[in-house]
Amino acid sequence: MKFDYVIKRISHTILIFLAVVTINFFIPRIGNDDPASRYYPPQIGTMTDEEYDEIKALTREQYGFDKSPVEQYLIYVKNLLSGDLGNSFQPGRPKVMKLITERLPWTLVLSLSTMMISSIVGIMYGTFAAKKRGRLPDTLLLASSTLLTALPAFIIALILSMIIGFELEWLPGYADPSMMTAFDWSFEQILNVIRNATLPVISMSIGGIVGYAVSTRNSVIVVSSDDYILTARAKGLSNGRILYRHTLTNALLPIVTRFMMGLSALIGGAVVIEKVFNWNGMGTLFINANLQNDYPLMMGVMLFLSSIALLANLTADLLYFVLDPRIMDGGRR
């Protein structure tokens, strides 16, 4: 039964992945745009329409744009199976995978740090607020959640950058652009990354902390009134044991999904923060690809982000199953 569940979830994920690959491939081709004219914008004034059409025809032939969409799709899938996302349209045609792997670690530095800080601090504070329900910590949490829900992360980022970065000069107001190139795993460089990442991570974490805290608080309050908690109290278990062994274990189930889905959202949502703090990550790579009509790179980044979302979703499903085995049989137990 357990095995069936796992197989079922993995099969679903593979099917969705194939759908994503297909949609990702065909969406850029739905419009009237001719990839050849995107690849070679009209050479204004230098050639007639006939000459330009000839060049475009040759381009289509050379780069396979003249093949039917289905043939192109099959070639794309075949290359994908060998891990080849194709070559960017950038001069020199660098591999899309190379460009992504160059930038991804730097976005992950922000995203993973944000996830860890948001979830740990948020869950701790949410539990604390639930314990102090109706008192100052709880009121502060609920009040700040109203404020921070309305305040986008980039506004927080701008305020932090201006005050802490440029005025007080406690931390860099924007990331040192040479950080990526100079990074060599030395202690000094790791410290440099931490210094540069602090403000972006704080900007992205503030909203997350409040989100996790509110979810945890609500979940803990709901679970605290369940029968088995009352039973545990009746059995004379200590408050700490009830909280950590029984309440939190059950209250954290919805948080797991939030945690996993948060990763893909953070990678995609870091675009604006990356811009404010001059952080050369996936977001700027994607903007660049769009601005330059770089189809292969756009498709590569989108596929990559979709794959992360799918993997996160699958991991959440499997973790959910480990944490709550009732899911396995539809909650019949």
Partner: protein, 595 residues
Amino acid sequence: MKNNRFLLLLIIVLMSIVMSSCGEKEDSVTRDDEALHVGYISTGFPAVFMPWLSNQGIATELSSMIFSTLFAYDSDNDVFDPLLGDSWEYLVDPTEVPEDQDYLAVKINLNKEATWSDGTPVTPEDVYFSFDLASDFSRSSHAGTLAWTGDLMHDYNSDYSGELIRQGIFTKDHPGDYTFTDEDDHVVYLHVKKVLGGITPLFTTILILPEHQYNIISHVNKLNSTNPTSAQSTLYNNPMGSGPFTLDVDNSGPGVIILNRRDDYHLKDDNGDILYKVESIKFINYLDEIVAINALQEGDIDVIDNSISNIYIDTLNAVKNVEVDSSVNDFVSTLCINLNVPEEYSTPQRELLKDPILREAIMLALDQDYLITQSLDGEGSSVRGGLFTENSIYVNDSISMDDHDLDKANQILEDAGYTFEAGSKFRSKDGVLLDYKITGSPGVKTTINYIQVLFEQIGIKIEYHEGGTNPTKDYFYIGNFDMTIQNVVFSMVNVDMMFRAQFVTIGYSSNYGRLVDESFEAKINEMRTTLDRTRKIELIFEIQEDLDSMNYKIPLYTANTSSAYRTDIFSGWVHVDNVLIFNSDSLQNLTLNSK
């Protein structure tokens, strides 16, 4: 009570942070290195360097510093300054070309001291290789390179099979009918199809490539291959040129690019010393203008290598050790009127725009001084109706600068039957209201608002129309618009190409409501193809007069370009018209203040 104390403490801490941010900051700037720090605003630096095809953002600029063309064009004096080429001449005077000759022969003497950054000399064969590769689509695989060599009489078969059908580059190893002696080791002959304009892209656009490195390019491994071999990728990642700087590959990446000066660069200053005084340049990428402005204020960079928005000029002028340089641009902003509306987009209002009297009134209503003051905060200059900027030596200064005259505009409209109907603020003719939209990007909305004010005074209704995400394809190429703001730039370097693009080519890419005027087209074609230099210049002047009278693209202004720089670390910045303060002249003059 305990809670209140907590809140009070929190407020005190927050207030302290805000108050301490208001204090004076230190003026002195310290750096870890002696490089010139140059900020650049873009979404990222290029991953690889490929001369010719690296044509976006900073890539073009970097390529021109690592590689070199034959000459640089000095538009102020209409001369070609030496780079790899030392001197050049037409073999036959372009005013005395025999009638049966369909080309002009050009002799180029290369600089004998020029070397590649690996120390090997630059030879005429490198020039042959580069021009030949650019002419052959089957190897270069890029339409742009064909455009550069369009006027070179070195033609490959039009089926792009790689068959050379007429040779137009001649060197010792490819002599053709020329005789080369031992003294001609550094000579190249070119056959070009046109006078003046024909040589400019060959001289100033095509970066010369080292044949001993790029000879791996073939019909199989094309220069612009979509899937380059590892040898090609290595080549593009480690550019080796003959320019004044080399790329520090190990220390460059998406956020930073470092160029180091070549001390063996062949060009020297007047005293025989190293020409470029800056030893190292560190280009730093900023994703947003405000971040770059902050970096300049903080002293992290010495100059911003982009034009900065007018809104920052006052702020930057108030910062100690920061200066703003304002330079006349060579782009002319014009109000382009759609004269050639395809049937499916025709409207009665658009039909009226074909009336020269209406267009003359529009021209008279436009007030360049008003637009410059209001929409550019005074940071711009007026332009004559011939659309050449004032700093070009080919500007026809017999054309008046600004004919603004509202009374006259109203009078000629009245005389031509454009009248106000009862109760209307706007004129009509035969029941058609003069009601137009100017299509443009949000960046020109301010200008359009002021044009609206001017046009209301002659009874023409104007509205701004957002062009959307792809205005070129959605409106301009297909001719579905009333008017638009279009930037044009005409100079001797591009006039052959741009006059044709703007006024002649009946093609998809040039339909910005273009003119359909056979005699005007014939004049432009004669200008483009004549081998007689004197006649060509006469025609350029005549064409400007024609443009002035047609009122098809009516000049609005030429906006200044402002660039900002610091003076406390490096001094010796040189202002040059048409370019930013970070320019070749500055690099030849800048010195580190501590030295």
